[in-house]
Symmetry: D2
Subunit: 455 residues, 4 copies
């Protein structure tokens, strides 16, 4: 038996390949399938099964495409929200992979169709070696429970609690737990950062085991997590097994400054540099989303129909930026600035600056500034700069009018470390605010500087 | 101005990318387009033109696919045999690429539609920097002239002579000559092995310049070169700009020995190992074609509809083997032996052996053996083993009955160095011959050993 | 916390990198350190500790070199056989890595100095997350116990049993076990093939837990495993933290056939092709060792002072072959055949053939052949071809005279699947035997063919 | 015959490998030799000669190291300034490489020892195929002539003119010219950007052919080019064949923010981000040198003994930054910020900002600002912002006191496109200036904006 884990940056997604006797199963593949093909080849194995734990909301799956390429069967459960599957396992059903036996368990709560898969080694169908839990069980916590229906989050948390306790808890303590996400994913909050974990370990420190059913339901059900608009698209495309990739994503047209200005006029322009670079100079009207943030925050400003133009630090970043967006179905990348922002800089075309501010300077001159905190509600609630106004960055563009912000006073935007604040700054500039400053290092730096926090 | 050359192994094909001012043109692309996209990105350039010198016969072009990916225009000439083109240049017409001017010249002879393209640097439309000649002018010779009509090869050679002398010879001697093929290509014979050449150099040693029109026509027109069956398919698909690649080619299913035996039964099995390995043990009925020979000799045994199964030395060779076949349109690679031939060896399934022989042993025991030479007619004519029977390897399977070969006597097969003989050996084994031996090192070793040669 | 495992092909060696808070520790590094540097960079971590479980016998360690490159401390135990260490942990001593606590445990038995290292997560110094066991505990078994003194193997097995039971068994069942070797290593036999295992799982199926102290000591102590001569060199160099690599290993001179013949005359020539290729034709006097077998069997024919010349299938294999040899300290690779064996074949220089035989043919003509089985004594004891003579391949060259083999009768050599038999064939050819045949697929194919086995 | 060119980014250096008959010569290798080894392997060739055109001043050569790795001979000329050579060719002497003949020609002027090498194809020792000219002949111009003695630049230009006209001009017009540098090198100015050129082409447009001896000597000898301090070190190490690389360069320790602050205190800190990022926030006291500028401008602030600490956009840039510095002998890279500047930002440690300014804003408010132009003297002379003060960035730190700059007024720094100005800004900040702004896009944007230029 062999196993490989595939980590997708930006969305903290884990896919897995498990192989035995020359056959391999890939669990929860994304649409860029090269790594799975490469691993199967390296292990002399043929991908015969593509297994889905649930209909993912946060990225486009690659199930249908990978199955088509390899001739594999798609394995999932009997539920409508799974869309198509070649082998639909009822709760407790098994299939074979080389000498392994793999059993499907219905573990709803994160989503109604969620399945977990227990892998038994050759000749030992009792002693589970690992369990692939999708978003039902993460390290330290579980998946969020508000997705199917925000108003039933508490009930769903109770359902998930029951799934874990009735279906998974009985497996051996030594069972390796292989979840679909790690810390940083939008599919949950509070995941522990560890390479691997076992069921026995989870029983000790995971909140689904440490809390009572009631405590857990209230805590998990009470979380208020953002629900990005691209989740709807993901649900739609993943019902059909996701999307196939397209080499076009690796062939984004590069334009010199004048051409870029012409082509991108009226379209969405995303500047994928770090916030200091954006503050030091950018194209008026562009949105600032740092490279690693594209596969989440790109989905707040673009959708699958938006023609997108990209600005990066350098040409070599364009492909990664485009793939990041394509992971959430934003495929219409119509151009990028050849050579990165420097090409625009030297062209003499107009450049807009915003600015930056250190925590100490803000603390020393707090009267001069309005402060806007664009983190999630739960983060804001855990402590913020005294007097800071709150609005989550994803909702900012549409709800700016609800905030009491003056265009006459300098405005400081903050978040955790400065990235989301960068997006906030760009939204405010687009809305006509003039003096908008990114608080360097955000609340991380503010707290590290020993400055006062309001709860 | 920047230039990159792309060499495709096995078919000695050269594609080129020329860039200026952020725009790039790709000349004669193949269907696996990653290298062109990578080079354009590295040069901060956008591929705006895909240029065809002629309808290639020896590989599937990637023009249409590359144009679709990048939004580029396809540039070629006004002739029907070019199929589709967005910009069809009449003889002498120009287009711009950044600051460059590129002029199309009609240079028929190899094929009726053949175009050459002259590149002029910025601000100097008189002094050509390079000329992309396709198969009209190679280093040391020209393309073959028998393809449009074998019976008009002499006339076509004269036409090609005229094209070169009237259209190209007047360019400056310093003009870099950039042909579509190098030595080893099936599109000509006798190419010189040199990295680059200029028109002035070619004038000194290229036979199209050293011979008179008559001499050249007779020599070139008198060549008898094999015409592999896949040429017809290439002509058909390249009329539409070739084929797009498919990631399926990188995902050939790998089978363990038993499964491989089941699946491949009745289908074409190609063994891509070196001839010694094949001689030492192989699967009965398989064809022996060494890895590097697949994009030519694969096309003698398979076509675009043949389900093909592959045997390699190791799993890591499967992709290259599949891509080699896909270069000539053989895309239906339905499986490969996981782990290479060793997987079959240890399975206990039946293995057939052929054998090998050194030149000296043959020379010392010539009475015992029949000798079959499977090289091209021109190679055979230039010197062969005394008494050797001749049949080109490509025609062998269909014409074996015409040869006076006895199944009762051991049969030695030879070629240049032993590769094509390997294919010959496998064809003879399939035809029921029992003792078939590959002459190690072929005529190269025979001659190096100082053994007698018959003309 | 983050973890990466590094698998070295051919020697089934596992090194590990564990990182936390920007600091990383590398456990049991080999001399080719790029993968560790790459992983540390990918994880934004600085390698501050290089940790040794024991003085490895089967490969050259890279501890001293990696420490020198990175400024890391070498961590090991207080024993003389560790050679140099910057931080020498007594049994139970700890050190910190970011927020992790790592405790050293003395677990002798495989070697007297063997240490295991328990890793505790931040804030939880009781609940071990993993234990790095070196060769003290593998999946399914333990390291061999005959290395320090073959005559005290039973006592050492008892000692190892005690180490495991007194030091490791008390850790939580969920503790991930991270050993230094997997199946295929010469440091043990009977390892299970699984990606990861926990202590709890090992308690269920590992023989050190399933057998009594006495049973285990007798079984383990009774194993008769080969002890390759390079073990002595490894012990010597690893006492000083191993060897640094040298780029020279990646720059093996390539020679055309004539030059190769001249240069290699009188030196050791290793042919790294598969056995069928060797049988079909090879250079007289060369040793046949397949590519993947070099880092073990290379050490039976070469030592650190032997000038070695390499023959491969293709040039691209030369680097891997050279690195494989360098892993056991054979650095004096003075040349390779440019272009692989094909270059020799076409040169007309002398070629020798051996041959191959299928199990069925042998079974049908058993009277005609002598059979030599070159597997390990334990493998032979578990079942062999009736009448087969036994001599382990490593001892064959020096002990051939002790066998009653006739040079007048054809000799069939066999092993597990045909690889080691290939080396055996080449040794016999060098000793003057004429008709030496490799049994294709070895005992694996023999048994799969349903032929009789003698015990 | 085969040829490969190797382009080193940042220093516009070209090395070449020429191979024939299994032997290869590498011309003017740098110290990072992997690409040469890889190319030789790909071409099935053995590097038998390492050839030097002259003692390079602008990068550390890799001759001695490459020769040691491969066993090659070092080929150069009889002059003392070449240091060691195994084969010292007198003017006109030849050596063989496979079937090629290579002739050395003494072509002094750029440096007294400069040699060119003419390559003749097999069987044709009259008709040169290419000439490797080192810095004697570039595309469009020649190497600078002020290096040996600034006061004898005019005489040296005349000498170089004579070298070109007497030694090279007589070669065939079709001879490919292969120089050691392209546009962007500090070894000359005004090189043409073209992929390849021939002697015939150069005769048409290269100033060494278009100007008379007098004109050329005056023009070339009158150039005033910066002479970075690292040239002295290069001359010293290259006298011995340069430096070997060290894997330590690929293992720069990564530090978290606090550790970085501690370790780097008092040492040279180089911030390799783009100028907008530096302006938006940086560590006080750091020098701003963009990534691609390190192998030139790093040598103005550091030398081989300076402990250097690096700040980049991301960890993945650290290796490239370190290699860039190592190219000019700056090997003492003692640390880098793990995770790039973002790690510092979120730490709450002090951050300094400078700022940026657009050309239009400067033009509209010229009275408010002092303007400092840090380009080369020749660039400044060709046109600058009215009223701008001039000082070349390399001389700025040591000569700041000579300029009449006020610390009370905002200071705008400019260069070509903003990169060198970034270094200028950081030098001024270190000197105590407070409000220092980088003119975005420099003179390129200024001119493109149609703003007035003073000559």
């Amino acid at each position: 038996m062999q196993m490989r884990r595939f980590e997708t940056p930006g969305i903290a997604h884990y896919a897995y390949l498990i192989a035995d006797g020359g056959k391999a199963a890939v669990f929860d593949p994304g649409r860029f399938v090269e790594p799975y093909l490469d691993a199967a080849q390296e292990l002399d194995a043929h991908i015969t099964h593509v297994v889905e734990t649930h209909r993912q909301e946060d990225f486009t799956m690659g199930s249908a495409y990978l199955a088509q390429l390899t001739g594999a069967q798609i394995v999932n459960g009997p539920f409508e929200t799974f869309g198509h599957g070649d082998l639909r396992l009822d709760d407790g059903d098994c299939f074979s992979l080389g000498g392994l036996t793999i059993r499907g368990l219905h573990t709803p709560g994160h989503t109604p169709e969620s399945m977990s898969y227990v892998v038994y080694p050759p000749g030992n169908e009792r002693s589970a070696w690992c369990v692939l839990t999708g978003d039902a069980l993460f390290y330290g916590t579980t998946g969020r429970t508000d997705l199917p229906d925000e108003d039933k989050s508490v009930q769903n948390a109770a359902l998930l609690y029951d799934s874990v306790h009735s279906k998974l808890a009985g497996l051996p303590d030594t069972t390796l737990v292989l979840p679909a996400h790690g810390p940083g994913s939008v599919c949950g909050s509070g995941m522990a950062e560890k390479p691997f974990s076992t069921l026995g370990e989870e029983k000790q420190y995971n909140e689904v085991f440490r809390l009572s059913r009631d405590e857990f339901s209230r805590k998990k059900g009470g979380e208020r997590l953002p629900r990005p608009p691209y989740f709807r698209l993901m649900e739609r495309v993943n019902l059909k097994g996701g999307l196939s990739p397209c080499q076009r994503i690796d062939a984004v047209p590069l334009f010199e400054a004048d051409d870029f200005a012409d082509k991108s006029a009226g379209s969405l322009v995303i500047d994928a540099r770090e916030p200091e670079g954006f503050a030091g100079g950018h194209i008026r009207g562009s949105h600032s989303i740092w490279l690693g943030g594209l596969p989440v925050f790109g989905g707040w400003v673009a959708d699958e129909k938006s023609p997108v133009y990209l600005i990066t630090d350098r040409t070599a970043d364009v492909r990664q930026a485009a793939r990041h967006l394509a992971r959430i179905g934003i495929d219409q990348i119509d151009g990028a600035l050849a050579g990165g922002f420097g090409t625009w800089r030297k062209s003499g075309l107009p450049i807009e600056m915003s600015g930056t501010l250190t925590p100490q300077t803000l603390a020393d001159n707090q009267d001069r500034f309005q402060v806007l905190d664009v983190r999630e509600a739960d983060e804001y609630a855990e402590g913020h700069i005294p007097g800071a106004i709150h609005m989550y960055v994803g909702y900012l563009a549409d709800n700016l009018h609800k905030l009491q912000l003056s265009k006459e006073r300098p405005l400081v935007v903050t978040c955790g470390v400065g990235h989301r604040a960068g997006l906030g700054v760009s939204i405010l500039l687009r809305a006509g605010f003039r003096e908008v400053l990114n608080l360097l290092g955000g609340m991380s730096a503010w707290k590290a500087s020993g400055l006062p926090v309001e709860h």
